[in-house]
Symmetry: D2
Subunit: 355 residues, 4 copies
Amino acid sequence: MGVQKLQVGMAGLGRVGKLHAINFLQKTPRAELVAAFTPDQNEIAWGRVNLEPHGVTLYTDYDEMLKHPGLQAVAIGTATSVHAEEAIKAIEKDLHVLCEKPLSVDVEVCRSVLEAAKKKPHLKVMCGFSRRFDESYRDAFAKTEQGLIGRPSIIRSQTADKFDPSGFYVEYAAWSGGVFVDMSVHDIDLTLWFFGDDSIPKSISAHGITAVQPELKKHKDYDNAVGIVEFQNGKIAYYYCTRMMAHGQEDTTEIIGTEGKLTVNGNPQKNFVNYYHSGGITREVPPNFIGRFGPAFTNEANEFTAACLDNTPLPMKLSNAVKAVEIGSYLQEALRSGKQIHFDEIGRRIEESKL
Amino acid sequence: MGVQKLQVGMAGLGRVGKLHAINFLQKTPRAELVAAFTPDQNEIAWGRVNLEPHGVTLYTDYDEMLKHPGLQAVAIGTATSVHAEEAIKAIEKDLHVLCEKPLSVDVEVCRSVLEAAKKKPHLKVMCGFSRRFDESYRDAFAKTEQGLIGRPSIIRSQTADKFDPSGFYVEYAAWSGGVFVDMSVHDIDLTLWFFGDDSIPKSISAHGITAVQPELKKHKDYDNAVGIVEFQNGKIAYYYCTRMMAHGQEDTTEIIGTEGKLTVNGNPQKNFVNYYHSGGITREVPPNFIGRFGPAFTNEANEFTAACLDNTPLPMKLSNAVKAVEIGSYLQEALRSGKQIHFDEIGRRIEESKL
Amino acid sequence: MGVQKLQVGMAGLGRVGKLHAINFLQKTPRAELVAAFTPDQNEIAWGRVNLEPHGVTLYTDYDEMLKHPGLQAVAIGTATSVHAEEAIKAIEKDLHVLCEKPLSVDVEVCRSVLEAAKKKPHLKVMCGFSRRFDESYRDAFAKTEQGLIGRPSIIRSQTADKFDPSGFYVEYAAWSGGVFVDMSVHDIDLTLWFFGDDSIPKSISAHGITAVQPELKKHKDYDNAVGIVEFQNGKIAYYYCTRMMAHGQEDTTEIIGTEGKLTVNGNPQKNFVNYYHSGGITREVPPNFIGRFGPAFTNEANEFTAACLDNTPLPMKLSNAVKAVEIGSYLQEALRSGKQIHFDEIGRRIEESKL
Amino acid sequence: MGVQKLQVGMAGLGRVGKLHAINFLQKTPRAELVAAFTPDQNEIAWGRVNLEPHGVTLYTDYDEMLKHPGLQAVAIGTATSVHAEEAIKAIEKDLHVLCEKPLSVDVEVCRSVLEAAKKKPHLKVMCGFSRRFDESYRDAFAKTEQGLIGRPSIIRSQTADKFDPSGFYVEYAAWSGGVFVDMSVHDIDLTLWFFGDDSIPKSISAHGITAVQPELKKHKDYDNAVGIVEFQNGKIAYYYCTRMMAHGQEDTTEIIGTEGKLTVNGNPQKNFVNYYHSGGITREVPPNFIGRFGPAFTNEANEFTAACLDNTPLPMKLSNAVKAVEIGSYLQEALRSGKQIHFDEIGRRIEESKL
């Protein structure tokens, strides 16, 4: 087989890292997973069974992996706190980068990745927002572009996780950046897609509660939050994020236009089965984001690979990934301060005293 | 109030009789329920509480009720076995008649009602098939008439009751005429509506089982049956009837045309509520035909009343009610005999030896 | 017929007034519509055809109608601006009152009705919020009471009207009190029902746009608005109101609890018909609130009547109707000012300078 | 990469052949597509672009392909008329076989493949019924096995294709075996799965029409047909097959048990998007079986590969594939003859004269 395949190294083999690794190993015909890094011994053990027999070299040192012979690209699925550093190192080694969202919970750190990438315009650097690769969101976007709903004016979007009773998310809140940065960043990214990259916030409000995990308060975080972003172009997005769903993952989006409306996942369902019983009619729901967006991650791996090999544009801009974190951070601030935040027409924050 | 109101007497105060009585008493502004007959003492007791205080005279003798001063119309909701006799008596007394389906399980007896009605063309005599008065079926019919689905060619229709563990339906089978006459007669009536009154059967097949009530076999009846009626005009209707549903009433119809399809009640639901829980998403289903067709019975009472008072045409022909029983009886025969039944172009049965 | 019927007079015969009049005339067996008032000649003409023949006396002077012999109750469906005055006059005449929402767009005026009613505790005075009488909302409430969703914590509720291109709503905005008072007052009332009457706001935010009717700005109103109310008891309600829907009325509510979720009207539909065609599968949606809530208005008339005749408690408190307008007014203020509003633990507003 | 991969040759590169080829080439990590055969020059041209660059050798002679060095398995997706011959040749060459359904439209020919396979028990010979590999059907089967619906008693299943105006299916009918053999064979296979392999027919009826393609009559075929199969074990399956759908592929199955019901694809949909517009709410439907069952074909390729490499049992028996054609042929005969067909308790046909 004389066809060139992109030589990929995977950083991180946690839940989402495993997903990426398997995608590059088995479901991305034009790529070859050649290396994987993780500092975690349990994850190394998983790699011994699932990756090594297929010719993947395992590393416990990220810098070592970057030296893997012939390596062309790195996929980063480690903890958020090291995303930026790893991305910058890879860029400096002249490697393409596919980084899990967010680049960082700190806007300045996000910008440093953007700066590093700008210096190497021949590299493909993408922060993967999986919903951009989902068939349904793409269909909704195509219909919007065709003008089916007139001018998109209101977006309602939510990221709603099934409740995890393990307490994991309480500790996670210490460094997650807060629910709007960690969860709603997807919904904000969708907003920039449907409303336009050039959308500038005008004002931001947010409110939150701790309904099932009061311990979150120690990290100034919430398990349910609602936020509103009003844009300068006369559009509004409003978001709900929660980790309390009993039934499963329910990430839903409505795009409301002047002449129609599109919903994505208004009726969550795991598959095409309905069960009729004495209590009524029941359908199941995917338990997590992989159940809902699994195929989107596969698309992402394939499209990133194609862009690297063919030197074609990436399907999404890195700068949007920074902007999404920025808006998420403002929402988080509004959530904590109990005050609305205002911006001028070019997006500069207006001090409260000037209002 | 100088407005004339139709003076109505109700025969029978069982489940469907009570429904009609309350409709004429409270939900049919142009009618006045003045009398009610039942031979059953429990039903009389119900009438004492619910009808007498509103000025309704109770009778335990049908002939006596027919003599009620000023009576103009009778609604018949007694046992099927006396429908025809009571209808004919009322017609002979020059009273309008709204009779529950079927007129009789015996085609000849049905025809005798038709004959009696033909002699008094000024009277309104209707056999009430509730689905004809249902908003959804009417919408589907209007869309069909508008040509939205091209030429209707295939109908799938089912009458599916929630399982009744009381054993009632075993005894009932002794005189119900069998499941196709008792249940599918609704689906057959719909077929005549959507395919045209002039539809003539070409061949009929049917199969049945007793899945939950084997005692039905002693009455040569079944708790689940499937039948097919092919018509001379190149159309086919197929029916499923069951008394075994765990979840509730599920009467569903598909009308498949050369250019589209309409479904009625493809997604049964009791109301607009969905309950999301750890097992998925559940909606409830109406437990019986009243939950599904209650408002249709009210429409029926009002439209029958209007036709009587204004001397306008009834919304459905009595002859169709006879034809529906006739086709139901052929299905029942095919079910029992295990043989297909054939008809010539004008609907005369072809003897097997002539095939 | 010796049964006592409540003697009802109707004030106003506009769209909702006609609906109430027909309900009391034809669908409320224990009530009798005896009088109707309207200053509008077109509405009088409608009354001549539809009410007078049934014995209803028409009045063009409200005070004259109140003197109608034997009158026991008044239903008020006139313009909002006169609701309160008419309600108080009726109370003073010792008449029961069913008043359309809102009592007034002015909180103080609302309170004056409450005061008048308190002086006559034997009278039934109700401000009709139709959703409280809807079978689906009641089912959702019953399920919530049964504990099916744990502790209700988040409510999302929207009032979404089909776009009316006539320009009517632009003029209407001059005196409607704004979209949150006029439309979301239903959603706020539902919130008080599901979260408890004693729920006290903690903070309020709101944002709005004029997407299709920029002329609304002259009345400082919006055609799309989103608002959040955070309550002292650790619960949040968020609302969307719009007059821009292409497809019809879409009033949807989600009640999210710690152990489950209930949706009401998550899948809007006019009836049980689905149309399958070359573009997909389509179902229709009710064009307006009457298509969605018609039966609820009938329930309302019947339950109000029963409470008056039997001296039983009304199904909803008048004080809630005042509270709903109060919260709506705060939302409207937040919408216009661009500032979050805060309250202390007993609901007193906290001045901005004190934050 | 030291992992052994199954060396696969593809026979036929038509619509379904291309699908299999791409699956084995790109989506079956443990298999390697090494060869492909087609006598059709257009298909060879497609192979030159899509397969050859990936190292796949193209053949225009089936026997030559069987000699491809190292070949271990053949996937057959040619015209039905040569399926059996090609399967037998491959078996004789000691190659595993995955054959598209049906093995043949002639029951005797099907049996000859079964005989050939029996002689080589070390080979994996499977006739691929894609629905057995569909996640939703598998979920329904698992729920049935768990006893959720009690004893499965009635199956309704349909294969419904979008109308193809090209006239292709008229010519195809000359050798397709008829609609029940060509289309319903999937539904019959599902029946054997859910009712049990040992289900023996008791009686069979069928009726058909030509609603949109009257030319089908010259091949004694139909564009819409309904059939019923009653089994000796007191169960009934009924089938609808059509090539007339306006909206797309709609393959639906209901499994009705004594205590509940399962539906698969009761609500067809292409993705998670709903479009709200002035005519209502619309969702799209997959245009063909690939849109509905694409991932099932991928599962099929992977599971066949695993069985070959690991010498584990195939997920379905070859004998069922024969039995499904047999029942389909009886349905087709009943359709043409207008007579019910009967069987004794061990499945031997009962002559009409003996009934």
